[in-house]
Amino acid sequence: MTTAAISRKALRARFRETGIKARLLLRNNLAKVCVGFIVVEAVVAVLAPWIAPYPDDIYGEVHPEVKLEAPSTSHLFGTDEFGRDIFSRVLYGARISLGAATVTVALALLIGIPLGALAGGSTRLVDDSIMRVTDIFLSFPSILLAIAIAAFLGPSLQNAIMAIAISWWPWYTRLLRSQAVSLKEREFVRSARAIGSSQRFIIFRHIVPNSLGPLIVQASLDFGYVILTLAALSFLGLGAQSPTPEWGLMVNTSRNYFLNAWWYITFPGLAITLTVLAFNILGDGLREVLDPKSRTY
Amino acid sequence: MDCGSMTSHLQIEELSVGFRTLDGHRQVLQLAHLHVDHGESVGLVGESGSGKSVLALTVLRLLQCPPARITASRLALDGRDILSLSEKEIRRLRGRELAMIFQDPMSSLNPVFTVGSQFVNVIRRIRGEHHTDATERALEFIRLVGLPDPENMLTKYPHELSGGQRQRVIIALALCCDAKFVIADEPTRNVDVTVQAGILQTIARLQHELGVSLLFIANNLALVSVMCDRVAILLAGRVVESGGVNEIIEDARHPYTHMLLRAVPTPEERQQVAAKSTAGRLEPLLAGAEVAERACPYCSRCLEADGDCRDEAAPQLTSVGGTHEVACHRLATRLESRA
């Protein structure tokens, strides 16, 4: 068999495995709904500039003549104090929130995984040094840390994303380290050492792939929490700035008008809530699928 | 058929236990009949996955009934049908008339309570005695299981005890409210062999002294042979052979029982390997063949199975003399005792 054929067969085997897990996940109706919701949201996020009914309203156009209008057929979610279509802005907000969450979680994983793997798989000295630094970060409530960093860097969407990523990586480090430490005692690691595999090979090819389960679960839950934190920062004025259609910012601005314009606070707020809820439920569903103990083989 | 009599302590007939899993219904137990008479010690031998622990949990009604589905034409303790009891009634039964010794002493004892308080909790709940009386009773049973220095033992936490000591505490806990029917689920599995011997002796002694009926679950026939009068061999949820212990050891009829008795290859088989004449002799004839779920549970591993074994429904237990029963299609055609 050629090398190419071998890789193909291997890939097919892995796909089959993933397929089984995906099917297990989707057995639950609630999980189906949440996955569906997230997929729709992701599509919306990508296509927002093209499917929004009033694309110009997203960033600049003001229409004072239609300001604060209740939801209607022409403006599904109503309009804000500048007459901008809230529906279009909420759609675009999905792009911002999901995009920011992806970047943040990716950055946190990129920093957290290698550090955690190193800490768990190396000598005590390395382990201790990395973990003490991690502990320092972890001792601050993450949102407070994010606020402090954002305030330091200056209020803007990009800085807010940076701030959140910086305050988020320690959780992954700690998670991966604990996985690494417990997996070190497993017989397949003992086997690998007896075979003579190098320490680095063991960490990255044996330990990390087996640690991904809890990590994936945490990452999916974190998508929701990052979105929430970003909204919080924007709400506090430290994140996205006007006129960016970020959900948290919209909720903040809507505070002044909510007695008269209930739609202004409701729809962005609902967007945040439903998104976070969907990721939470997805995370729980993934946990059931990925935890090897719940397997029935 | 040896179904025991109406006066058996435990009587099981046509018990079927299955679980609803993500992949459909999984049948775990399919018992034709099993009984334990008063004062008798019956062994149940099976490997992991054979359903033996499920049987214990079923008798104690510890299985959650939605994922589990239990049907039986008779499951009676002292004549009382267990399956029809209400939750309240079965809780009264547990500890008072029916008790279980679990296999893992580490997880069966609550780590945050002292041995003494665990005893007192149980005794007070079941017998409603005062604290002092309960403590007295606890001391009595701790002495009975052969633990030294009972007063001191009451104040210890489970992690301060060795594996053997913990197992004895579990035995004492099971017996302390005068339960007359005890199920011991692999009580010496996690214990070294020299400590195991002592525990087995304790269980055997207590069984005689207190006159309890014992259902002893184990994964090897040797253990059961020193502890029990009768034994049933369980494979994939079905009893494949049962009868008096001595009878089965001297004259086992089912190939699986032979395999259990002789866990390592015979010298002849070893010679064959040395002479390089292994070939198909080691591989079961039907390996890889599709086996219907209702067929004989051993046929895919049996060295003598044929097409009928695979296609027909699982064999029934048929008597081969006295209480000795075997479930095998090829009983008639098999030669007399091998090995």
Binding site: A10 | A197, A204, V264, E269
Partner: protein, 354 residues
């Protein structure tokens, strides 16, 4: 030294050959740390002075209960733990002083099969990668060449080739253990350590695997070091037995002799404690009172004296020296010491069999 651990015995009939493996007063202590600076406060003496020789082609069975040190000893042989004192030699080379390329070369010759067929294989790897890992680490082969070798190995252990692109969890425990055996043989090692190879498998697979191991041993001229608590497995596979208790070897000799006439009280108790169908009741089992002492503070004198049913005064004072009780069979027990020489007329072994 009076230490009985200095008794090193050659395997039966192989006195002239260089032993494949030699333990010279091997000690493996594990520190118990405490205090602010995490300094070692006490030591767990897992292996406390073991001297043994293993001849090529032999099958040594290490027998003993939990805490006796048998697993730690093989970990030392596999270089998974460093010896605290003493040395272990493979083919005459001291493993502690071997580095880099030479260590890798030695690693190829000693492989292992472990107890847990589920966790000894990486659950996220495909079977072909698992069996091919040793080839990947030690040889420069293309993926195709590796696959060819792996296919060959799978045939040796009689697993269908379509299993190569599956995951371990798709197989039964017996088949997984065979995969582990295939992996252990990938580099054609000279010695295979079998650490409880059949204790987690069903009896039919155990049967098959034992036959398979016998066949493979003959075919490739392997040397086995078998660790097992199951005496029937040891009786089947081992040619020599070493009985361990609390870090020391208390009895050693050809399997047949040790089983037929165990000399050390611990060995006798161990054999007599095993339930066996010929014993009709639990009464006939021998149980040992007391608990295994802690390895942190082993008893003075003979380690076993606190539980020995036949101890004499000397046992609690001096560590027994090994004494021959038979052809190539010795036991470290004062009871086996006659006043002068042993029964076979040979001198009490002092500094061991070169």
């Amino acid at each position: 030294m009076n230490d009985a651990s200095m008794a090193v015995t050659a395997a039966p009939g192989a006195l002239a050959t260089t032993p494949l493996v030699e333990f010279k007063d091997a000690k493996l202590y594990f520190p118990v740390r405490g205090g602010i600076l995490n300094r070692p406060r006490a030591w767990v003496k897992a292996v406390d002075g073991v001297s043994l020789k293993i001849a090529p082609g032999e099958a040594l069975g290490l027998v003993g209960e939990s805490g006796c040190g048998k697993t730690t000893l093989v970990n030392g042989l596999l270089q998974l733990e460093k010896l605290t004192q003493g040395s272990v030699l493979f083919d005459g080379r001291d493993l502690a002083s071997v580095r880099g390329g030479e260590l890798r070369h030695l690693r190829r010759q000693v492989q292992a099969v472990f107890q847990d067929p589920f966790w000894s294989l990486n659950p996220r790897w495909l079977v072909c990668d698992i069996v091919g890992e040793p080839l990947r680490v030690h040889e420069r082969l293309s993926a195709e060449q590796r696959l060819d070798k792996v296919t060959e190995l799978m045939e040796m252990v009689r697993i269908p080739v379509d299993a190569l692109f599956k995951y371990p969890h798709e197989f039964s425990s017996g088949m997984r253990q065979r995969i582990a055996i295939a992996r252990a043989l990938a580099l054609r090692p000279r010695l295979v350590v079998l650490d409880e190879p059949t204790s987690a498998i069903d009896v039919m697979s155990q049967h098959q695997i034992l036959l398979m191991l016998t066949e493979l041993k003959e075919r490739f001229g392997l040397t086995f070091v078998l660790v097992s608590h199951d005496l029937s497995v040891v009786a089947y596979l081992a040619s020599t037995i070493a009985v361990m208790y609390l870090g020391k070897v208390v009895e050693y000799g050809p399997a047949q002799l040790v089983f037929q006439s165990p000399a050390h009280p611990y060995t006798q108790a161990l054999f007599a404690a095993v339930p066996d169908p010929s014993k009709k009741s639990a009464e006939s089992l021998v149980s040992l009172g007391g608990e295994v002492p802690s390895a942190l503070n082993p008893p003075l004198g003979c380690r076993f004296h606190t539980r020995c049913p036949r101890k004499i005064g000397r046992c609690s004072e001096e560590l027994p020296e090994a004494v021959w009780v038979d052809e190539n069979h010795w036991a470290a027990c004062w009871l086996c010491h006659p006043a002068s020489t042993s029964q076979s007329g040979r001198d009490v072994p002092a500094n061991r069999g070169e």
